[in-house]
Amino acid sequence: MIPPGYFFILSVALFVLGIIAFFLKRDLITQFMAIEIMLNAANLAFLALARSSNFVDAQVIVFFIITVAAAEAAIGLAIVLLIFRKKKTIKTETLNSMKG
């Protein structure tokens, strides 16, 4: 019997780790990976919910989240490639053309 609280706490921890990862990293790709971590943490929480409240719909939601995350990853990486082509770098410290 694993109390669902454990899963929730784990999910929260992973989420916060993802956030910290986002701020600690300086290049786009790894920051993107941090976002993926956050998404997965959310997935975990959903599934724990599905189990604890006997609510199967939550699994369907997770299904959709994974799908959309995949699509997002595809486009996001395409954009990263484009940025690299343009600026020859993916260090986020140098990317500030949206200033002002």
């Binding site: 956030i19 986002f22 701020f23 986020t92 500030n96 053309s97 949206m98 200033k99």
Partner: protein, 633 residues
């Protein structure tokens, strides 16, 4: 039959709208047809309603028809409703009948003007506003018409707006009217407070029930009369009317002789119960009227512009109407309104014909001997002059006489004397005008003489019609000495005019008074004859002897200058000062200040947008933390 009365105003306003919207695409011929036709239609409706009203017994008046509820704000209600009774009948017949003739005349007079369509649009609009004024069953709707005629007056006086003097005259008319309107509005407000409604029937009922203290009635009546002095050009607000002659002559005939200026008289007659109830107000009305009558007549004696003489004459005659109302002879006052409409518009239109014939010349010093050249203009003009001078058998005699007789009968001898003085001067200046224009040496300028021609039929036919009416209109109200039943006009108005204390004088006195009026008129005419035909040197001698008197009269007692210095200039200077110090600095300053402040804050806040994704993400995080915190705790 009478029920058609509510349709009377609508043809003119529809015509006006069509002219405003589509005017540029319509042919001149169509415009004339439409504009004149609309007024003719109104006249037909008016006639039908009038004939129907003859069969209705007096107790049923006034017949009220509410078109729609209009204003309903708590206890302040005012319906868009018309009322019809003998007084309305007289007024609508005058407005539409004389109005129609003037529209017809304008077809010829304004034929070469490039603002032809605009002119008729304004003229129709004016007719509509005036009809609203006289048909309204409550004072609020009447005020709508009141302001409407003021607006149209401004538009039409300043019709040739490229001319600075015309534009200024239009402005002056409107502004002076507005000052009078202050009195009207205040009076209206007091009525609303005292009676609770502005319906005429309600007001009359309230007076009958004695709801008002007499002092309040006097106050209201005086305030309303101030409004009337503005609209009807009495002392002290008459100054706009002479300047209003800048407008086209038919406009002067319609607005400043027959209709708009009579609105004040109509209002007083409509509220006759109020004025009778407050004796003091009626006395003030009579006194102001009498003083104005004489004052204006003195100024008419010296004017050289043919239209100005007629303008001052109008002011003077309006004074007579107010005398009539003031002494309680409201029927006589309205009677004079009605006859005056005919002969004054006749005089103006005839003057227009003369001006047209002389290619625009208005100075009488450059006229003379036109009798031979204008055979269709001269007779009507002469008839008009005779009528206004109060010669027996023409309409002016009957109406003026009725007023003066009643004044005497009431024991108001001072007013009667002033009226008589005015009558002498009226006869004098009118025939001075006739003699200078049509008789004597020809002093016409060469160019004008070259183009001298009689006016077209569209102009002379209305003149003839008006001349006929100037003669016969008076027979509707014959003096009492010829039999009690002879005064048809007065009896017709009985349901509306509740008689005050009527003076009684014997038949002999009445005949005597009539004789005196005639004698006085004859003296005036004779004097004019002597001064201008027999011994033309007399005016010059007099001027040499009393130069200061002449200067005073010729310059209209310098009233305009006094007003200018005391009232107008300080106001203008004051406004300029306020503009400079307040409008520019404070209001504009605040506006520009807020704009620059916004810009400043924008610059400051733009520091937040660094362009780095991480910073934005930090902001997200911060927001999320705070939000969750608030949510949870």
């Amino acid at each position: 039959m009478t029920d058609v009365f509510w349709l009377i105003p609508f043809a003119p306003v529809l015509s006006s709208l069509v002219l405003v919207v589509f005017g540029s695409k319509l042919s001149k011929k169509w415009v004339s047809l439409q504009a004149c036709g609309a007024v003719l239609l109104s006249f037909v409706f008016a006639l039908v309603a009038f004939l129907g009203s003859l069969r209705i017994s007096p107790e049923e008046f006034p017949i009220v028809k509410t078109l729609f509820p209009w204003i309903g704000a708590g206890s302040f209600q005012a319906g868009f409703s018309f009322q019809f009774d003998p007084l309305s009948a007289v007024m609508v017949l005058v407005v539409t009948g004389v109005g129609f003739l003037i529209h017809l005349y304008s077809v010829g007079y304004m034929a070469h003007d490039k603002g032809y369509t605009r002119y008729f649009a304004y003229l129709n609009l004016f007719t509509f506003a005036m009809l609203i004024l006289v048909l309204a069953s409550n004072m609020v709707l009447m005020f709508v018409g009141w302001e409407g005629v003021g607006l149209c007056s401004y538009l039409l006086i300043g019709f040739w707006f490229e001319k600075p003097s015309a534009a200024a005259a239009g402005k002056k008319a409107f502004i002076v009217n507005r000052i009078g309107d202050m009195g009207f509005i205040l009076g209206l407000l007091f009525i609303l407070v005292a009676v609770g409604s502005s319906e005429f029937s309600a007001i009359n009922k309230a007076i009958g029930q004695g709801i008002f203290p007499q002092a309040l009635a006097t106050l209201i009546a005086i305030l309303l009369f101030v409004g009337a002095t503005g609209k009807s050009a009495q002392i002290p607000l008459y100054v706009w009317l002479p300047d209003a002659m800048e407008g086209p002559t038919p406009v002067s005939a319609l607005i400043h002789a027959a209709t708009m200026v009579t609105a004040g008289v109509y209002m007083v007659a409509r509220l006759n119960l109020l004025f009778t109830f407050s004796g003091t107000a009626a006395d003030i009305v009579a006194l102001v009227g009498a003083l104005t009558a004489v004052f204006a007549a003195t100024m008419a004696l010296t004017q050289n512009d043919i239209k100005r003489v007629l303008a001052y004459s109008t002011i003077s005659q309006l004074g007579y109407m107010f005398i009539g109302c003031g002494v309680g002879a409201y029927a006589a006052g309205i009677f004079h309104l009605y006859t005056h409409a005919f002969f004054k518009s006749l005089l103006f239109l005839s003057a227009g014909s003369v001006i047209h014939a002389l290619s625009g010349q208005q100075d009488m010093r450059k006229m003379g001997g036109l009798r031979k050249h204008l055979p269709r203009t001269f007779p009507p003009f002469l008839i008009g002059a005779i009528a206004i001078s109060g010669i027996p058998f023409l309409s002016g005699f009957f109406s003026k006489d009725a007023i003066l007789t009643e004044a005497f009968a009431q024991g108001k001898y001072f007013i009667w004397a002033l009226g008589l003085t005015g009558a002498v001067m009226t006869a004098f200046y009118m025939f001075r005008l006739i003699f200078l224009t049509f008789y004597g040496q020809e002093r016409i300028e060469h160019e004008a003489k070259h183009h001298l021609h009689e006016s077209p039929k569209s102009m002379t036919v209305p003149l003839a019609i008006l001349a006929v009416f100037s003669v016969i209109a008076g027979y509707a109200g014959l003096p009492a000495v010829l039999g009690e039943k002879a005064d048809l006009f007065k009896r017709f108005l009985d349901p509306v005019i509740k008689p005050g204390a009527e003076g009684h004088i014997g038949a002999g006195t009445e005949w005597l008074l009539m004789l005196v009026s005639v004698a006085v008129a004859a003296v005036g005419i004779f004097a004019a004859y002597v001064f201008y035909l027999q011994k033309p040197g007399i005016p010059h001698t007099l001027v040499a002897r009393f130069p200061w008197l002449y200067k005073l009269l010729y310059n209209k007692y310098f009233v305009d200058e006094i007003y200018g210095a005391v009232i107008v200039n300080p106001l203008v200077k004051g406004s300029d000062w306020v503009y400079g110090h307040f409008d520019l600095k404070v209001i504009d300053g605040a506006l520009n200040g807020s704009a620059s402040a916004t810009g400043f804050f924008g610059k400051v806040l733009s520091f937040v947008q660094t362009g780095f994704v991480k910073d934005y993400a930090l902001a997200f995080l911060l927001g999320a933390v705070i939000f969750l915190g608030v949510l949870l705790f």
